[in-house]
């Protein structure tokens, strides 16, 4: 039997398969010694879990802790303010990917900047910047680059193209971050009073396509936390949970890949090489809700400084650190120490149309998901 494109959707969303795994998980979970908390790191998984109602299918002793979610959720106010300020500069066109437009900074979001007259555009692909730059030769296009390992190679290709084609009016503001450092920070909080609650990780699907599953080796090896790299269709998620439960009842602690059709150990080497060529690690990047995480951010290599909007516009970019809102407990939610429902401003001052913390900002954040699907979780 050959594989058809339809199979790659339908078979991985099939209701009967989901029901079958629910049954297997329920049976196996009876043999668990302790309840387990699984953190799904990426927002795509949070979305699948909420959209397909997966918590409603699991027994009481298996719970989810919703992870950092997405590059949009974790973008700190300081960086949004950079984007805001850059968009207000004369002859600048600020370009970024979709959801970024709505994230609020200290003066408002990029959407608000646009309402005030700034030229802010969202694109589907970083390569769309080239047409914008060609159509506006007297303006400077600044690409506000965001994303985990999945998206960084595409920014690298854009820079590669800009250099090779000699395009003189595209600059970059880099906000790419890497996932393993954040995963480590979530379990390594170093605070004796903070009981970390994460028992297992559901590894991100498409970060892993680029980076390979090798980047998660340290978790079972050094932290005794198993990882299953999962695809992001509901059957993938159910199968991955089943694999994790089996690890626990069989006393194993391993790195496994459920998403075999796309993820292997090494990942996409060409993409990794391109990223290496143009980027280096920044000493730290502040993740909204989690604080500074060492070595988790990327910046352009020194030889490409002429393309770095952050250094060219240094004089106008604000430098002060901005504290997260006093009442925001996103940090606790991300560490599994609280649920959105325990936050005093959840659903009142903080909601999807007026988000205060990272977990509410993007539609894939934990709080946004609870707000939307709330009573039915």
């Amino acid at each position: 039997m050959g594989l058809e494109l339809k199979n790659l959707y339908d078979n991985f969303r099939d209701g009967d398969t989901i029901k079958a795994y629910a049954k297997i998980i329920k049976e196996d979970a009876k043999k668990l010694k302790n309840p387990i908390n699984i953190m799904e790191v990426c927002g795509g998984h949070t979305h699948t879990i909420m959209k397909y109602g997966i918590p409603q299918l699991l027994p009481q002793n298996i719970k989810f802790i919703h992870g950092p979610g997405c590059p949009v959720c974790i973008m700190p106010k300081e960086r949004i303010d950079h984007a805001y300020v850059l968009s207000m500069q004369e002859n600048v066109i600020l370009v970024t990917l979709g959801d970024m437009i709505k994230v609020p900074g200290s003066n408002g979001s990029l959407q608000d900047a646009r309402a005030k007259g700034a030229d802010v555009r969202f694109v589907y692909s970083p390569m769309d910047c080239i047409k914008i730059a060609n159509d506006n030769p007297d303006k400077t296009v600044i690409f506000f680059a965001i994303g985990f390992e999945t998206t960084t190679p595409m920014t690298a290709v854009l820079l590669d193209t800009v250099i090779k084609k000699g395009i003189s009016n595209i600059l970059f503001h880099i906000n790419h971050v890497t996932v393993p450092e954040a995963m480590r920070a979530l379990i390594d909080s170093g605070d004796d009073n903070a009981k970390n609650n994460i028992d297992a990780f559901l590894g991100p699907s498409h970060v892993s396509v680029i980076s390979g599953s090798k980047i998660y080796e340290e978790f079972p090896r050094d932290y005794n936390i198993p990882v299953v790299v999962a695809g992001f269709e509901p059957v993938d998620v159910m199968q991955s949970i089943s694999m994790l439960v089996k690890q626990f009842i069989q006393n194993r602690c391993e790195l496994e890949v459920e998403y075999k059709r796309l993820v292997n150990y090494d990942g996409n080497i060409k993409a990794q090489d391109l990223v290496q060529m143009y980027f280096q690690k920044a000493s730290a990047f502040k993740w909204r809700g989690l604080g500074n995480i060492a070595n988790s951010g990327l910046k352009l290599r020194n030889e490409y400084k002429e393309y770095d909007a952050e250094s060219i516009f240094k004089n106008v970019l604000p430098l002060e650190e901005i504290q997260d809102h006093k009442l925001c407990i996103c940090g606790d939610i991300l560490r599994g120490m609280a649920t959105p429902l325990e936050c005093t401003i959840f659903g009142t001052a903080c909601k999807p149309t007026s988000p205060i913390g990272s977990c509410m900002v993007s539609s894939e954040g934990a709080c946004a998901a609870y707000y939307k699907y709330g009573n039915l979780i």
């Binding site: 709505k102 969202f122 589907y124 699907y373």
Partner: protein, 332 residues
């Protein structure tokens, strides 16, 4: 409310509703307006009255253009209250430099669509403004219709009703998004823009017990169901697998991260029909050219009042929310 009006305030969803109620309804308080129907019923229930402005971009797209839209939009609002469209006004604001041939093409589309509805334009206005003051052309149409079936209202839906749609959803929104500059794709996708009066007339003539009808324009089917849940103080439960979506629209939704139920439609409407007549209504709708996928999609209950619930085939539920924000592709 924010200090400045954002684009999201025109989305037909949450922000739009907030703007309308906190600014306009507050100032123009009256009983008829507050009923929040697709068209106002006036003059002792004999007439329906509605207005709509059209700012779609691009002007010409697969399946229709701004002219056809301008007539369908207002005539459909009248039809949704069980009224026959009769007299329309047509106001245009044209940008300096706009091509006359394009204007003529648009007006021809309007003429054709008026004939489908059996309506005429009896009054109008033309303004031309300097380059840059509007984007090519904006059109407003206002319509008066004669009510053929009385009592149709989005405030009267009960557990005796079933929820029906007349065709597959999301075509218009998907088509516009694809045609708009910046995202390039090619597919057989077409807007569903169509006059609905013929379908409504067929249902009225067959004496179908219609409780409510609403065309699912901005905010899509999701906006309609949520509005109904709030206005009638009910819970609407929809079976996810019953909602008809074409392969092409599904493909766009996959690529851009949309839900078909939030995409705009211009020829798709949702009906609340008394249980005993629902099957007959579906049969009648199926006789129309694009109606092959007309179907019952849900029912009315009371488990979560003022909310809409989606039931999956494997036993899970989730809320279907009023759409909010601009329609943007999700990214990671």
């Amino acid at each position: 409310m924010n200090k400045n009006i954002s684009l999201a305030c025109g989305n037909g969803g949450e922000e739009n509703n907030e703007l309308t109620s906190k600014v306009f309804y507050k100032a123009f308080k009256n009983e008829i307006l507050q009923r929040n129907e697709d068209a106002a019923i006036i003059h002792n229930g004999e007439l329906a009255f509605s207005t709509d402005s059209f700012t779609v971009s691009p002007l010409f797209f697969s399946g229709a253009d701004i002219g056809k839209l301008a007539i369908c939009g207002t005539c459909n609002d009248l039809a949704m209250m069980g009224a026959q469209p009769k007299y329309l006004t047509c106001s245009v604001i044209i940008e300096e430099g706009f091509e006359t041939s394009k204007l003529e093409k648009i007006v021809q589309s309007m003429k054709k669509e008026l004939e489908v509805n059996g309506a005429i334009v009896v009054s109008g206005d033309t303004k031309v403004v300097p380059r840059g003051s509007v984007d090519k052309i904006f059109i407003n149409t206002t319509g008066v219709g004669e009510v053929l079936k009385h009592g149709i209202s989005s405030n009267n839906i009960t557990e005796d009703d079933l929820i029906v749609v007349n065709r597959d959803i999301g075509c218009h929104g998907a088509t516009i998004f694809v045609a708009r500059e910046g995202i390039e794709m090619s597919s057989a996708l077409e807007s569903d823009c169509e006059s609905l009066f013929p379908q409504v007339k067929a249902l009225i003539d067959a004496d179908i017990k219609i409780t409510a009808m609403r065309d699912a324009t901005r905010g899509g089917v999701s906006a309609v169901l949520n509005e109904w849940a709030k206005q009638s103080n009910i819970c609407i439960e929809v079976d996810e697998d019953k909602i008809p979506v074409s392969d092409e629209v599904s493909g766009i939704c996959e690529i851009l991260g949309f839900e078909a139920s939030t995409l705009a439609n211009e020829g798709t409407f949702v009906l609340a029909i008394k249980k005993e007549d629902a099957d007959k209504a579906v049969e009648i709708l199926k006789t129309f050219a694009n109606g092959s996928r007309a179907t019952i999609i849900g029912k009315v209950t009371n488990i979560h009042l003022q909310k809409v619930i989606l039931n999956s085939t494997w036993g899970t539920k989730r809320f279907l929310d009023t759409p909010s924000g601009e329609l943007l592709p999700r990214i990671c």
